[in-house]
């Protein structure tokens, strides 16, 4: 018996490779200075889904909400074994906080047939870990966060081990279920050779249009439209079309999307530059360690 999995993924700035001027003068992130990568724990979520697919068969759909350039990580998903990919891209999505994002994603997931929804534990740019749990609430399904091992999947019952900070907990749940997966769950596979050779040519309709325009700079808009339609038809036939859904396609209520759907207000952004280098010697005695812990709690470095 197969299981249909939907994995939600995000393209993020590579915060591990910070170099040069990554903060703008106004305190916002200068995205062009950071390479865009696949959010690392989303790859763990995909790996878990692929292991389910390898063992039990079933369909794996990968969805990403983001700018048109997020198509890159959907291709990456195809390289690893996704059956279908969908890009949710719409100007109305801009400035969405986690609440609006989870609403938009829930509209998309509701259109699909799923048994298990998987997300990475959190994205490295926002570090909120909120979207997965919020999405489960909006879908009205069970959620298990911080999954570090898929222990068993029998019939409609899933058993997983989740990290609870100071230990772990084994949880059994009925499908459908939403899991958020940590980096301890597995080591993601690399892109597969034949899938790369095939799917490197996969495009979203937006990319197809850009390609047609650059190849036919003389064409007028109706000619371009025709060419794009033909190109998308060809891509679809070969299984190389990455679906594009806008907010209309997923019947989203605009008031819940973007800025209007986002109650989170950023109060202040501070660019913290750690300039000073100081070292302090701690005596290797119980007293020395207790003093250090006390000091760290005092200045709220640890809670």
């Amino acid at each position: 018996m197969g299981y249909n999995c939907v994995v939600l993924v995000k393209q993020v700035p590579d915060t591990k490779r910070i170099s040069g001027k990554v903060m703008n003068d106004d305190g916002t992130v200068n995205r062009s200075a950071l390479p865009a990568i696949f959010n690392p724990e989303d790859l763990n979520a995909i790996e878990t889904a692929l292991q389910i697919k390898d063992k039990f068969t079933g369909r794996l759909v990968v969805i990403s909400m983001g700018p048109p350039s997020a198509a890159a990580i959907l291709r990456e998903s195809l390289f690893r074994g996704a059956d279908e990919t969908i890009l949710i891209s719409d100007p109305g999505c801009a400035a969405s906080d986690t609440l609006a994002t989870s609403y938009i994603l829930s509209c998309a997931v509701k259109k699909l047939d799923y048994d298990i929804v998987l997300c990475g534990r959190q994205a490295i740019d926002g570090d909120t870990a909120q979207v997965g749990p919020q999405l489960a609430e909006k879908l009205g399904i069970t959620q298990i966060s911080y999954v570090e091992e898929l222990t068993e999947l029998v019939g409609r019952t899933i058993t997983v081990r989740r990290n609870i900070g100071n230990g772990w907990q084994q949880v059994k749940a009925s499908l459908p279920v939403l899991l958020t997966v940590t980096s301890d769950a597995n080591e993601p596979r690399v892109a597969a050779a034949k899938k790369m050779m095939k799917y490197k040519n996969a495009l979203t309709p937006i990319e197809a249009e850009q390609k047609i325009k650059s190849e036919n700079p003389q064409a007028n808009s109706s000619e371009v439209k025709k060419l794009v339609e033909r190109k998308c038809g060809e891509l679809k036939e070969k299984g190389l079309l990455i679906k594009h859904w806008n907010l209309n396609d997923i019947s989203a209520d605009m008031t819940w999307c973007g800025q209007s759907g986002s109650p989170t207000k950023v109060h202040r952004i501070q660019s913290v530059v750690l300039a000073a280098k100081q070292s302090k010697e701690i005596q290797p005695t119980d007293e020395g360690i207790a003093d250090m812990i006390h000091e760290l709690i005092e200045d709220k470095t640890i809670a």
Binding site: E187, R189, V190, A191, A193, K194, M196, M197
Partner: protein
């Protein structure tokens, strides 16, 4: 996070420098499969993009997944179970699963069997990348020649039955050649001889229905616990030489028992098995009697290229340990790389690796051209007679180059990696001798490379024929006719002088007969290799294709690095070439005449 392709400027440079368009066009038969298989490329640009993407993915797997497991694979080794099955080290098993998922176990196989149909040149790059991460894993990843041999010589039925599983990474193979009394000399693979039935070398026989069965022992079989075994056995008892041997396919089953696992110096992850075939059902590959003389020779040539690539990977890994250590270890108030003796070792290690890579990639390129032309002439012979004649002559030329460059690469790279691994320990000193650093493992893993798939001495025998028969002179002439940067003219003069010395040495050797040729084969082959490498490095130094990383995150043109490399390599080797020529022309035959006088008697036992 490390990627063994992206962090290797030289491999990336060579992928750009070598004319891959030509190789690709001939390898994929002018892209005629583009519509038939959804992943087959439609142009050489697309094919080259594929090579890059696949090497990148493999480089990530090697750096992030395989390399971190190598130390434990080395320590754990393989375990022989009571039922004759073998349990692989956990890390190696995990790496094999990842390689299968990465769809890289049918690197050169045709699309129709699920292979990538990549050129051998790219496969050499891949083997190097994997071997740098774990040399022992190469003995499975780099054994794809077994599937390639089935593809080249077996019946369509056998191909259909086994090749898709190879490409999917569901099965691994072994080449089952060696017997207790037949190592380098495979012609002496036995028909029978020992009294103890269980000790008899493997023999093959047919039942009344014409089915083949194998019974007896084979020894030192790399990955003998694999699922598909290609077994060399004597099918014609009345013919005692190589023409009496045929090649058979045996599937793993209760009829094959691993009796023993060897305890070895290195490559602990690779199981070396003694096998007992208990009336194992066997399938004949191709035709009888061609087992050794055609099929195993072809398999061996591929395997030699593979070992050369494995050697490069080990050398690269060993060099990096030393380079890293020398830049941070302080003695006498300075980092040790400031000391001339240490610095010299590191430069020579790096130079030797780049020279070895130049030679191996040239050999792989020539093998691709040879195979490509042969396939072209076989499947689509041109109607134009002149063109057909021209193609045939080119194909023959590539074949001659391949049969000389293949043993040269195996010889040069394997000897080089032993030297590099030895010096890597030397740079680390006492620490290098301890298990705390990987260089002692690299040195142990390196040691087998000059031995298996034909010892260095046998590679020299194979290469020296080509050197003396005019092939080396043809190749050197061809290489010298390339377009070079004028800046290199003094180096080219040195190479031309060296070529003259080589020619004189060849004349002298030929005058002294074939025994003398074997005696002085090594210095002669060394000369030829140094000259070929000299030209290859000059050609690389004449290309202006990319920037490479230098100190403190800066970039310099690769041309600058390659020019310095070529200059030092040729300048340092010119006296060696001269000395080799002089050694050869001494006419000293004491090896034949005074052996007992020089070595003394055989030591008494006890």
């Amino acid at each position: 996070m490390s990627n063994f392709y992206r962090d290797n400027d030289d491999i990336q440079f060579l992928l750009k420098h070598i004319d891959l368009h030509k190789i690709t066009e001939i390898c994929v038969e002018s892209f005629k499969y583009a519509g038939k298989f959804d992943y087959a490329p439609a142009s050489s640009d697309e094919a080259i993009q594929n090579y890059n993407m696949v090497l990148d993915s493999l480089g990530q797997l090697a750096g992030d997944f395989i390399a971190p497991r190598a130390e434990n694979v080395d320590r754990d080794g393989n375990i022989l179970n009571e039922d004759g099955s073998v349990t692989r080290p956990k890390g190696l098993q995990e790496s094999l699963e990842k390689l299968a998922q990465a769809e890289v176990m049918g690197f050169t196989l045709p699309y129709r069997f699920g292979g990538l149909n990549f050129p051998n040149l790219v496969y050499s790059m891949a083997i190097e990348i994997i071997s740098r991460a774990d040399a022992a894993l190469m003995n499975i990843f780099g054994l794809q020649g077994i599937a390639e041999t089935i593809n080249a010589f077996a019946s369509e039925e056998i191909k259909q039955m086994y090749l898709p599983d190879f490409a999917a990474g569901k099965v691994t193979g072994a080449m089952v050649l060696t017997e207790p009394d037949a190592g380098s000399d495979l012609q002496s693979v036995k028909v029978s001889g020992h009294d103890m039935e269980e000790e008899r070398p493997a023999t093959v026989y047919q039942d009344a229905q014409g089915n083949w069965f194998i019974r007896g022992v084979k020894r030192f079989i790399t990955n003998g616990c694999g699922e598909i075994l290609l077994v060399l056995a004597r099918s014609e008892p009345e013919i005692s030489d190589g023409r009496g041997l045929s090649l058979f396919l045996v599937e793993r089953g209760p009829w094959v028992k691993v009796r023993r696992l060897e305890e070895k110096l290195g490559i602990h992850g690779s199981p070396t098995c003694e096998l007992f075939f208990n009336d194992a059902p066997a399938k004949l590959i191709g035709e009888r009697q061609r087992g050794l003389i055609t099929y195993v020779m072809s398999l061996m040539n591929g395997a030699r290229i593979g070992i050369a690539a494995q050697s490069l990977g080990i050398a690269e890994a060993a060099f990096r340990v030393a380079r890293d250590y020398a830049a941070s270890r302080k003695q006498f108030g300075v980092v040790i790389e400031k000391l001339p003796a240490v610095r010299d070792m590191l430069i020579d290690m790096k130079l030797a690796i780049e020279a070895g890579r130049a030679l191996l990639y040239e050999a792989s390129r020539v093998v691709d051209m040879e195979i490509g032309y042969a396939k072209w002439l076989e499947t689509n012979p041109p109607e134009d007679k002149d063109l057909a004649k021209q193609l045939k002559s080119q194909s023959r030329q590539y074949k001659r180059y391949a049969s000389m460059l293949t043993p040269m690469s195996k010889y040069y790279c394997s000897e080089m990696c032993n030297k590099v691994a030895y010096d890597s320990i030397q740079v680390l000193g006492g620490s290098g001798y301890m298990r705390d650093y990987a260089c002692e493992r690299h040195a142990r893993d390196a040691r087998i490379t000059t031995i298996y798939e034909g010892t260095s001495q046998l590679q020299v025998v194979a290469a020296v024929r080509g050197v003396c028969s005019g092939t080396s002179e043809n190749l050197l002439t061809e290489l010298a006719q390339q377009k070079f940067d004028p800046e290199l003219s003094d180096l080219l003069e040195k190479l031309a002088e060296g070529t003259e010395q080589l020619k004189k040495a060849i004349v002298f050797i030929k005058e002294n007969g074939s025994e003398y040729m074997d005696l002085y084969g090594r210095p002669l082959v060394d000369m030829a290799i140094d000259l070929i490498n000299g030209y290859l490095l000059c050609s690389q130094a004449s290309a202006n294709v990319m920037q490479v990383s230098a100190e403190n995150g800066t970039k310099i043109p690769m041309k600058e690095h390659k020019t310095a490399t070529a200059r030092r390599f040729i300048t340092k080797n010119a006296p060696r070439i001269k000395a080799s020529a002089e050694t050869i022309c001494t006419g000293d035959k004491s090896t034949f005449q005074q052996y007992e006088v020089l070595v003394g008697p055989v030591p008494e036992p006890g």
